[in-house]
């Protein structure tokens, strides 16, 4: 694997301009002062209770995501390109979803094979012909971005269902501003604090046509045992909306109400952090106690907006992902600004053969997977793991895609032996309302804390950093 591009010390070891001031500051700051601040940050996170749960890990039911105090910095110019590319991509995603559940022009144009859609378990036939307000399906998108050189941004995956992590983007910034006021004074960092306002106005803008002038928005959570529960309560608090569980809601005459101390109250928009499968036991999994019986029929009647819409999983399927450049061109008639990582679709025999021959060098992912579970990183895997994966691949090739093992860019990070480069990715959050697409400058930077590791997922030992976009 090639030497990774370091975002501070660029190719050839030249300090990149965005990091000039940080580098100066690091030289003036004694290492134990950094360590002290790091401990202070950890204490703050614990006291505020910013935790997440790892499934199947009884010991550590609530864990902290490690926080690295060295910020990741982008110049205004870099951000401008990224922002444009993200808006373009999310516009295309929404048009694609509208098309898939209506006219299906893209299938008739033979750009995507039919069976990839219709045989796909995350395709929701319930959504066929169903209109959603303002044709917005993905109100909140988390697009995972990686870099391998100074020139290009690559999209690693699109999260179009219930992307999480935005609370870390906001809390990381709060804590950094508290711990390092001096460092902020020496930079002009674009603020991220408008995110909750932008989110609320996006959600209000997509209320059903019949809703009141001041539509009621609620955030629906699976409950305190969900891994992202902290984020749900955090966002509900910042937005000033009720945090509801399925049992707080009731459907009557195809309208949705919440049970309050003053009786039933009508709800117009649900920002739901519950997966499709668990939304309504009458339509989806009958054994689910998390959902609301009748919710889907209220949805079909057009009396409630769900954000994100039902059935968006088809847009973040990793096999569909491989068609994103074509999808962007088809709907917008533009060249995609953000590149895709080259992807082999194991469902195609030619690609599968190549993948099987090169398992040791590739990253293989489940098409419906997320959270870094169930993937193979060839160069880091043992022979036995590779062979086990080979069997899985042969048995169910359509369940997988493969990508080259990218040398993800690195950023300086606090480690036990001082500052050292660690691999990072970036998840910006893209909001789509009735009339426009917005992104607060930055996003969540995830960092693989283990030396050489490429897995940044928090469930797999990754950490986070504050992400700065300089306002030049």
């Amino acid at each position: 694997m090639a030497v990774a591009f370091d975002e501070m010390n660029g190719p050839g070891g030249d300090l990149r301009p965005a990091y000039l001031e940080l580098s100066r500051w690091l030289k003036e700051t004694p290492p134990d002062a950094l360590e002290y601040r790091r401990q202070e940050a950890e204490l703050l996170f614990r006291r505020i209770g910013i935790t997440f749960a790892v499934y199947g890990d009884a010991e550590a039911q609530e864990r902290l995501i490690p926080f690295d105090v060295i910020p990741r910095i982008m110049s205004a110019k870099e951000w401008a390109v990224l922002e444009k590319g993200l808006k373009q991509r999310v516009r295309a995603l929404n048009m694609f979803l509208r098309d898939i559940y209506h006219g299906r022009d893209i299938l008739r144009a033979n750009i995507i094979p039919d069976d990839l859609i219709f045989q796909n378990p995350v395709f929701r036939p319930e959504m066929n012909g169903q209109d959603v307000p303002h044709d917005v399906y993905v109100h909140i998108a988390g697009i995972d971005i990686v870099r391998i050189n100074p020139e290009n941004f690559f999209v690693l995956e699109d999260n179009a269902r219930t992307p999480s992590g935005v609370s870390y983007m906001l809390e990381n910034r709060e804590i950094m501003m508290r711990l390092f006021p001096d460092l902020f004074a020496r930079h002009r960092v674009a603020p991220v604090e408008r995110y909750p306002d932008e989110l609320l106005s996006a959600l209000r803008s997509v209320a059903p046509l019949g809703a009141a002038a001041e539509p009621t928005v609620a955030l629906m959570t699976p409950g305190v045992y969900n891994s992202a529960y902290y984020e749900h309560s955090f966002l509900a608090d910042k937005l000033g909306i009720e945090l509801v569980e399925g049992r707080d809601l009731i459907v009557k005459n195809d309208e949705v109400f919440m049970r309050t101390t003053e009786g039933l109250k009508r709800v117009d928009v649900i920002y739901r952090r519950v997966d499709d499968d668990f939304l309504d036991p009458l339509t989806f999994r009958p054994d689910s106690a998390l959902g609301v019986p009748g919710l889907m029929s209220a949805y079909a009647a057009g009396n409630i907006t769900l954000a994100n819409a039902v059935g968006t999983g088809i847009a973040d399927d990793k096999a569909v992902y491989s068609y994103m450049p074509e999808i962007v061109k088809f709907y917008l008639g533009e060249e995609p600004i953000l590149k895709n990582v080259p992807t082999w679709r194991c469902r195609e025999p030619k690609d599968l053969a190549y993948v099987l021959d090169n398992l040791g060098e590739l990253v293989v992912k489940e098409v419906h997977g997320s959270g870094g579970y169930g993937m193979l990183i060839g160069p880091a895997a043992t022979k036995a793991t590779i062979e086990a994966f080979r069997d899985k691949l042969k048995r169910e090739p359509e369940g997988f895609i493969a990508q080259p093992t990218l040398a993800l860019s690195t950023c300086p990070t606090c480690t036990e032996s001082g500052l050292a480069p660690r691999h990072v990715d970036l998840r910006p959050f893209v909001l789509t309302g009735s009339s426009h697409v917005t992104i607060v400058p930055g996003g969540l930077t995830r960092v693989a804390l283990k030396e050489g590791s490429l897995v940044v997922n928090s469930s797999q030992g990754g950490g986070t950093k504050d992400t700065w976009v300089l306002d030049e």
């Binding site: 614990r46 006291r47 209770g49 409950g223 305190v224 529960y229 309560s233 955090f234 509900a236 608090d237 009720e242 945090l243 509801v244 569980e245 049992r247 707080d248 919440m258 049970r259 309050t260 101390t261 003053e262």
Partner: protein
């Protein structure tokens, strides 16, 4: 507000209040059992601590005998006792997590810090009496801090009123229970005993509801059983008396009723209980039987809990 949110706030306050009451009960029992036998007689004080906590039956499913070690452990740390102090704090935190948006950051910080300390410092229980004393202090301070942050930082709206309802309902229940278990030491017939034995029982009762000093300020007399009963049942100025709890319950329910523009069964029932307390005299209560009076009160108080739940929380 969401019914579930109101329910969580209500139970959160109840759990915190219960934890404090248990800590006080243990403290008072430790004091009385430290006295020479001649002063306390043959009653098993640890047994009556279990009774006042209302967990006697479940205790004897696990243990043979009630002594200091087993009762302290059961009331403080036992995971199998649903209302051990540990479970109260765990439940309080769970409830807090469910309603974080309705809590002020000070309240959340109090509960979350207590929960962290419970695991990190008290995860293995306590080994010595000194450790135990520190633990009991910690529990009481948590409750004081929680109550103080609620009082000082919460908006005065339905969230606040529902949390106060939980607090006063639980408090009334605790005071009534201790009276129920100890009523026999308060009976005037036994006054002639009058020896040191009863005296220490009386102070113990007052201590567990933090009313020993208050007694002297109110009555300026040596301890007399009917005055103790009067203080704990009818004296409106003692925060843990039944009368004071019901004054507060009525007030908070009225505020909810006004805010929602609607009165209901809860308001009526609470007013009924308060009126009975207001118009009672200690003489009559003794005449008709303290035991019966308290029993009826406990039932009435439980009923109010059910009515509130039905009217607002589900």
């Amino acid at each position: 507000m969401l019914s579930r949110t109101a329910e969580n706030l209500y139970w959160l306050a109840r759990y915190v209040e219960r934890a404090e009451y248990l800590a006080r009960t243990i403290e008072a029992t430790l004091r009385v059992t430290a006295l020479p036998n001649a002063y306390i007689g043959k009653t098993n004080e640890w047994d009556s601590a279990l009774l006042t906590a209302g967990v006697s039956a479940s205790f004897y499913e696990v243990y043979q005998e009630a002594d200091e070690r087993s009762v302290v452990d059961y009331l403080s740390f036992s995971p199998s006792n649903p209302s051990s102090i540990r479970n109260c704090i765990e439940n309080a935190r769970l409830n807090s997590r469910s309603v974080r948006t309705a809590l002020t950051s000070e309240m959340w910080d109090t509960i979350n810090s207590a929960w962290i300390e419970l695991q990190e410092v008290w995860g293995k229980g306590t080994k010595t009496r000194e450790e135990l004393a520190r633990f009991l202090r910690f529990v009481q301070e948590t409750s004081l801090r929680f109550d103080g942050s609620a009082y000082r930082t919460m908006l005065r709206n339905d969230a606040y009123w529902f949390s106060r309802l939980g607090l006063h309902l639980e408090r009334a229940d605790n005071t009534a229970r201790i009276l129920d278990v100890k009523y026999h030491v308060l009976l005037p017939e036994e006054e002639h005993v009058g020896g040191p034995l009863d005296y220490y029982q009386w102070t113990s009762i007052l201590r567990s509801v933090s009313a020993l000093t208050a007694y002297h300020w109110v009555y300026r007399e040596t301890l007399k059983p009917w005055l103790i009963a009067d203080l704990l049942i009818l004296n409106d100025s003692l925060p843990r008396s039944l009368a004071s709890c019901y004054g507060n319950l009525v007030r908070n329910l009225d505020q909810i009723g006004v805010a929602y523009g609607r009165q209901g069964a809860a308001q009526r029932h609470a007013r009924g209980v308060r009126n009975r307390l207001e118009h009672s005299h200690m003489d009559d209560i003794f005449q008709h039987g303290v035991h019966e009076f308290i029993q009826e009160f406990i039932l009435d108080n439980g009923r109010l809990g059910e009515i509130i739940t039905k009217q607002y929380l589900i």
